[in-house]
């Protein structure tokens, strides 16, 4: 087990113990929610795991590095940021996918752009966002998010 996984498991376990001491009924309810959401997300987790295997096993690595690597430059970052903005996959699943792209030769900037637009911008949730917040605020939030995602990605690329 990696140190990150150990840390996360200890953190979850301590929260669980504190919750159990404070309120048994609420803890039981929480665990029920946890089990339900685990099984709801499980199919897509397995899909992504198979997909990553096929991606890294079949797609030639120089294709990944050509479209999303250092040599793809700014255009590559914009391209993958747009893909992230349009795609609607659970954020939790995005990280193993991002890791596989990085392994396959994508640049740090491209991967950071992908994750940031994927989580911050929601094209599928946009209608609801407009309904609840109004057109102006919703469109501004998503539009400005795209610009800032690119800036974050470029700084990440320079730093790491």
């Amino acid at each position: 087990m990696s140190s990150a996984a150990i840390f996360v498991n200890i953190f979850a376990l301590s929260c669980l113990v504190i919750s159990l001491i404070k309120d048994r009924a609420k803890t039981k309810q929480s665990l029920l929610v946890a089990v339900k959401s685990f099984f709801r997300i499980l199919p897509i987790v397995l899909i992504i795991i198979i997909f990553i295997g096929l991606l890294l096993g079949f797609v030639p690595l120089d294709l990944i590095s050509k479209t999303m690597g250092e040599q793809a430059g700014f255009g590559g970052v914009i391209l993958i940021a747009s893909v992230g903005a349009i795609l609607h996959i659970p954020a939790l699943i995005a990280f193993p996918l991002a890791a596989s792209l990085l392994k396959g030769g994508a640049s740090v900037a491209a991967v950071a752009a992908f994750i940031t637009t994927l989580t911050m911008i929601g094209t599928v949730t946009l209608p609801l966002e407009i309904k609840e917040l109004g057109k102006k605020m919703a469109l501004l939030r998503n539009g400005v998010s795209f610009i800032f995602a690119i800036i974050i990605a470029l700084i990440m690329g320079m730093m790491l």
Binding site: R40, P96, A98, L102, L140, L160
Partner: protein, 186 residues
């Protein structure tokens, strides 16, 4: 009545599992056409499966705990009237707590608008909810490493705050302009 209740989740499960079966079949076909790739694909998938398996249950337990302990009313109560640095920090804090998807956050934000919360706080809250969530940061730590996670987290917090403040300015400015043209039109 009972039948109805039972039918629904079953249909949901079929809908969820169908894409998985399709992916599995495609993978099996591909791997039987190209047996040379089998070893690499299976090893990569297995490694990711293990990495996912050691972290996903813990993340789900955290999300379950926080969704039960932190109520919508609590978020609205605290974010409704705070402003300044305290408001910004609270907006990030409540956004980052491991509770639910964006679908849950929009109605909360809508209530906040009606309660007169600051636009910047609402934008910061929503953006934190979308991309600074604790479970996401844990996945990022696991799969992309501490350096990547910490760097992106700090940058995201900085830019989310800048974004909240600038969108608030833009909205105030355009409201004022709309008000002026309306006034001069009268």
């Amino acid at each position: 009545m009972k039948n109805n209740v039972r039918e629904k989740p079953r249909k949901g499960i079929i809908k969820d599992i169908a894409p998985l079966l399709v992916t599995l079949i495609i993978a099996i076909i591909l791997l039987s056409i190209f047996p040379a790739r089998q070893e690499a694909v299976l090893k990569i998938s297995w490694d990711f499966f293990i990495e996912m398996g050691t972290i996903l249950p813990a993340v789900m337990i955290l999300m379950g705990l926080f969704s039960v302990w932190v109520s919508k009313e609590m978020v609205v109560k605290y974010l409704g009237k705070t402003s300044g640095i305290k408001g910004i920090s609270l907006a990030i804090f409540f956004g980052a707590l491991p509770t639910g998807s964006l679908y849950v956050a929009f109605p909360v934000a809508s209530v906040l608008i009606k309660k007169g919360a600051r636009t910047s706080n609402i934008i910061i809250f929503l953006s934190a909810w979308a991309c600074i969530k604790i479970p996401q940061e844990m996945m990022e730590l696991q799969f992309l490493g501490p350096k990547f996670m910490v760097a992106r987290l700090i940058l995201t917090i900085i830019f989310v705050v800048i974004m909240g403040l600038s969108i608030e300015r833009i909205i105030e400015w355009s409201d004022k302009k709309a008000g002026k043209t309306r006034a001069s039109g009268l």
